[in-house]
């Protein structure tokens, strides 16, 4: 944490990049990837990166773009906003990438955003859901992931089936979780329900029994949980130990239900999850051929199946970036930024296109993706009866 890289490693990587530069200059198009590959949310970041790799390999196998191969320059943001901003700066200044994909968590993405303004480089946001990202007037942001508001809007169509009278919330204590608690509370209230307690947990916290004891004491029929899969595993297990009987609905799309089944076992039974990709039934996806292609390649590479609910984000992100570079006709930041407004991509989640969002004159791009509800039943992922 204090000393990140040894002097030797620094010198070595410096030498390596000097040696590598002339070779790369000859004809690859670089795309920066800024993901958490270590730290508490490392699993998710690695899944996204694997999806990005599949997309890049498929594009290169089909001849690349503009006659060049694409090359992913992958940086680890260490699940830390400060590191995320530093990684972005390194990608832009040293690797000279014309476009980036990142940075998973809303908190990391928000930390990167001033760098995009400073260096005028566009970034496709593949996971972050906080409304602030596309509403703050940063014209270099193009988000393919749904905002929390979009998630709630989509869930609004189904919420009456749950007949929620009173809901509690347990959310991770960052932009992602707090935003979800606010938006889903509004949704519950607008559908005739009331809100009980809203509890927060640190992203690295392992013991949440205090929060759960408080939630248990607050009489409600439903508990909304928003966090990443590792922490969700712990929450479900500890909720079971406390005999919490409230119906659990998780939001945010970073739950990897298969990993929950494996790690939380019976504690995950009956829980509902809002996800943005359903790799269990890829043939039901709007672009079934793309979804099936991704799922098959993912399995062929031996990646964990559970990771596909995150992996598709990296896959769709790189497809979108490649389409924009092609549309721009050159690998330059400004041209790619303009091209994003025109792209229409057939992604694994569905059709990707950007709408304007945020203050006039400096709008960010926002895609309207699909949201699905699944339920864990008998140790399997199922589509709920309704």
């Amino acid at each position: 944490m204090i000393i990140r890289t040894s002097v030797a490693a620094l010198l070595m990587s410096g030498a390596a990049s000097l040696l590598a530069l002339p070779a790369l200059a000859q004809g690859t198009i670089k795309i920066g990837v800024n993901q958490p590959l270590t730290g508490p949310v490392a699993a998710s970041g690695q899944y996204v990166t694997n999806g990005a790799r599949i997309a890049a390999d498929q594009i290169n196998a089909a001849g690349g773009i503009l006659g060049s191969k694409i090359e992913l320059v992958i940086e680890d943001n260490k699940s830390n906003p400060t590191e995320a901003a530093a990684a972005a700066e390194k990608l832009i200044v040293r690797d000279k990438v014309p476009v980036m994909l990142g940075a998973w968590s809303s908190t990391f993405t928000l930390a990167v955003m001033p760098k995009l303004m400073e260096y005028e480089v566009p970034m496709v946001v593949e996971t972050s859901s906080s409304g602030k990202i596309t509403e703050s007037g940063n014209p270099w942001i193009f988000r393919i992931a749904p905002t929390t508001s979009m998630e709630t809007k989509d869930f609004a169509k189904k919420i009456d089936k749950f007949a929620i009278k009173r809901a509690n919330f347990l959310v991770v204590n960052n932009d992602f979780g707090i935003d979800a608690a606010t938006k889903f509370s509004e949704l519950v209230k607008s559908h005739g329900g009331t809100v009980g307690v809203v509890e927060r947990m640190d992203p690295t916290a392992q013991d949440v029994s205090a929060q759960l004891a408080k939630i248990k004491a607050s009489d409600a029929d439903t508990l909304f949980i928003t966090t990443s899969v590792e922490q969700l595993t712990l929450v479900l297990r500890q909720a079971q130990a406390l005999r919490l009987t409230q119906r659990i609905i998780t939001t945010g799309g970073s739950q990897a239900p298969d990993q929950l089944i494996e790690h939380a076992g019976p504690a995950a039974e009956g829980s509902y999850h809002l996800v943005f990709f359903t790799p269990w039934f890829p043939e039901n996806a709007p672009n079934a051929d793309v979804a099936v292609g991704l799922v098959n390649e993912w399995k062929k590479r031996g990646y964990q199946f559970a990771g596909l609910t995150e992996g598709f984000r990296g896959y769709d992100g790189i497809l979108t970036i490649a389409a924009a570079i092609k549309e721009a006709g050159k690998a330059e930041p400004k041209a790619i930024q303009q091209a994003f407004w025109k792209v229409k991509v057939k992604g694994a989640n569905g059709d990707i296109a950007f709408e304007k969002s945020g203050p006039a004159g400096k709008e960010s791009g926002q895609n309207v993706p699909n949201v699905y509800v699944i339920q864990i039943k008998d140790g399997k992922v199922t589509l709920p009866a309704f």
Partner: protein, 290 residues
């Protein structure tokens, strides 16, 4: 009232492992005066070894816990012999920097070997909790608490009621005099570090199945261990044990009745208060170590 009894039960169970961690570190940091940044990594190592023994090698759960602790003791001994022994006459800053390096190397090594996806350790305990009135506790946590208490009692007896314990206390009270009395100083240093490390590995082995195992699981817990040691007074065995329980109660009740967003801050707030009014820790005067 129901909520309060649940909070108190949670805190008691959590406190047992905090105490175990605190005791392990107070031996190394408080008595040996080594700012041991690898403590959290030994904790992580214990958890991964349990995972390896149970899930990969297919060993019995209880045997796996014992093996993980034993391997933790050996790793601790190795760290002492390889890294600390050559630096015994160096100042605290030098060893601190070496230990930071060891911490980073170990954490990244774990990440490299096990990958970023969390591991889950299966246990033989029933998933249905024990229910007593309004309170409900996981069987696994009851076992963890019991094991932690037994380990604490064991470590206490070892230090206070054996010849080795007396040699250890003598060595760190006055090294030269102890050496003149015929105590093998090198062995005592290695054994103390190994004992402290073994307790950390045991805590990791016990808590690994309760939580999930990741390479960074030791970071926050190491910070808490330092806090517990400072709270209880450097080198004070009883202080570290009680400090562990105090931290658990403050966190649990703070999260339950004040604000869960500040759960981890509560403990540190308490330490600031303790240091303001009792700069040597709560129980420093109870035991004289140097």
């Amino acid at each position: 009232m129901d909520q309060l009894s649940q909070h108190l039960t949670n805190a008691l169970v959590l406190g047992g492992t905090y105490a175990l961690l605190g005791i392990g570190l107070t031996l190394i940091f408080g008595i040996m005066r080594v700012v041991n940044f690898t403590h959290g990594e030994l904790y992580t190592f214990g958890a991964y070894m349990t995972f390896f023994a149970v899930s990969v090698a297919g060993a019995n759960f209880f045997l796996a816990l014992a093996l993980a602790t034993l391997v933790g003791v050996l790793l601790g001994a190795a760290i002492e012999v390889v890294l600390l022994r050559p630096l015994r006459s160096s100042d605290i800053d030098t060893t601190m920097i070496v230990m930071i390096g060891a911490w980073i190397a170990m954490q990244n090594g774990e990440q490299l070997i096990w990958g970023g996806v969390a591991k889950s350790i299966p246990t033989p305990f029933p998933t249905a909790p024990l229910v007593v009135g309004p309170v409900s506790v996981d069987w696994l946590r009851i076992f963890v608490f019991t094991a932690a208490i037994l380990l604490i009692i064991g470590a206490h007896s070892l230090i206070h009621h054996t010849r080795f314990g007396r040699a250890m206390r003598a060595t760190f009270a006055d090294r030269d005099t102890a050496a003149l009395m015929g105590i093998n100083i090198g062995l005592v240093h290695t054994a103390t570090f190994a004992l402290g490390s073994g307790l950390a590995a045991a805590a990791g082995a016990l808590l690994g199945p309760v939580f999930v195992v990741t390479a960074t699981m030791g970071n926050l817990i190491a910070l808490k261990a330092f806090a517990i040691v400072i709270l209880g007074g450097l080198g004070n065995f009883t202080g570290a044990a009680i400090g562990g329980f105090i931290l658990a109660f403050v966190e649990e009740l703070g999260a339950g009745y004040i604000s869960s967003g500040y759960r981890d801050a509560m403990g540190f707030l308490l330490i600031i208060l303790v240091l303001m009014f009792r700069p040597t820790g709560l129980f420093r005067r109870a035991e004289r170590i140097s």
